[in-house]
Amino acid sequence: MSDVTPGGDQGSALQAPADATTLELVEVKRGMFGADGSGDTSGYGGLVTPVAMPAASSRPYGSWFDQVIDVLTEVLDEAGVPPQEAIEKVVVDLHGADSADAQRAELTIDVAREHVVAVCRALRDDQDLRFELSLGVSGVHYPHDAGRELHAVYHLASITHSRRLRLEVTASDDDPHIPSTTSVYPSNDWHEREAYDFFGIVFDGHPALTRIEMPDDWVGHPQRKDYPLGGIPVEYKGATVPPPDTRRSYS
């Protein structure tokens, strides 16, 4: 997994930054079948598997992706936001398709958290972008992604142009702050409350950032990876079934 290099550099302003020369490592798995110590007779106990999310893509991205990135760069520039800083990287997921023209190809833009509102505003308002519809915020917790453990993932849709894209913004566990996008997309109100409730991401500038699903006095953020699932052993016909989070894991 060490031979991964960033996808080329054609001199574009939007290449992956120089320090993104490795894959985005989010986890390192050890062993297999959940067996470790003396119980491991499989020989798989020493297995080390790095888990890395897809690396930054290089130009041309294909389909309408290049155009959207170009326009976004331009609009951000006009608005006084340095695009190289705002757009950290661009990832194209082909999902098994031959080219980005396939309907299932997806565009992900990693956005620096301080510029997320400006990027959203540009994506919503420019006539060539027009991502009018925000389909919510999904939090993801990567405890091994040091310094950027918390990811907020925004899915935007353009009804005008029939396009969809994804913004990914990260924050660290120590400083879990991301600016709220409710000023641009009021619909993100509840979605940001949900991400706060489940992951502890604090959306600065949100009108009323309170828990939405869990009780107000709940301690902890349940969908974080360090929060246990809970459960009790269940006895059935003489055998005991352990709770799901203590069962053997294969990965």
Binding site: E132, I159, R164
Partner: protein, 451 residues
Amino acid sequence: MSAPAAAPHATRPAGNEDMSSTVRAFEAYGDGDWDDIAREAIGEERIVVNMGPQHPSTHGVLRLMLEIDGETVTEARAGIGYLHTGIEKNMEFRTWTQGTTFCTRMDYVAPLFQEAAYCLAVEKLLGITDDVPERASVIRVLMMELNRIASHLVCLGTGGNEMGATTVMTVGFTAREEILRLFEAVTGLRMNHAYIRPGGVAVDTPEGFTTQARAALKNVRGYLKQLSDLMLANPIFKARLTDVGVLNLSGCMALAITGPVLRSTGLPYDVRKDNPYCGYETYDFDVPTAKGADCYDRVVLRIEECYQSLKIVEQAMERLDRTEGEPVMVADKKIAWPAQLAVGGDGQGNSLEHIKKIMGTSMEALIHHFKLVTEGFRVPVGQAWQTVEHPRGELGVHVVSDGGTRPYRAHFRDPSFNNLQGVSVMCEGGQVADVVVAVASLDPVLGGVDR
């Protein structure tokens, strides 16, 4: 108004002798208007009424906090979370295939949509979108459209019931029963199907299904006619719904409200047309819209959408007849469960014959079967997003894989969850009785909202 001379106010605290009581109670008398009495009694105090979470007209456990001034709602807020069961978290501890068993329980009125969206997202990650057999896609479309009709029937039926039109409810639920019987024939269950699986569907339709379905749908058509006769021209019904719960296009876009509520503003946005999946681009159907953006138009739209769904179902059944005997699961044996499901002698599980075949012919097949079912298949690292047109709007699924046999994260953007944000805008300034109508027109299902 004139109050008795003995009392300076129209009201006096009840039980003057016990002023230490911390509970304030009032007794009102006088011959004036109630508004005047109330004003003197409570002055500028706000009256906040809790509607729910156990109110029958809140579709489950929705809590509405209404600040009222007489009969007028001045502020409305929705409180949710009473049905939060941590389905998304639970999915992280089960295999990818078991995920369908969990997500089907989210929006329990439209379970097949969660299954379909989730499976399409997993198939994207696996890179097998093109390998899903045509017959599987046809069955998915057929099941989803039947489910859309069933869901709309619940919406219309319960909506009518909440306004006191019990017949609307009984007709709606009788019609839904026809569809649930079809579900039972195909999946074995009336709800919580876990029928659509990554790679295809669990089992082919039973013999003679299309004949049974055609007969049932003829009845459904009749019930739909009854419903529209009962509702659409009824002056009381129209008076209750017209110009109530209005939310215009810009309001819908700002709050990302989709589905029939958005289409009632005149925008023909439908994921089936905008970003087709499961081969919807090959079916002939229309996206009905309306202009009024009120509750009445949403009822008209839902009835019309049922007819459009029937149209799709008929086309799907033709294809079903044409593809008789073709596979309903991807050919890749590393993904497809060896699920030639049949009822065994014990009334459940796989048939003895099938198990005998696996056990008797190949030990490797047995190991493979065991591994696939207990451990599950691995899904490449990455993330995917899939939306489908749910009866209530755009349902989105965000799945993240770390390359393991379980979802690293599965998030569902449930349309009801998002649409409930519109409650404030739709109810404020209206009457308390209109709240019930407005919420019914959003058609929230709290299982999906809270997950």
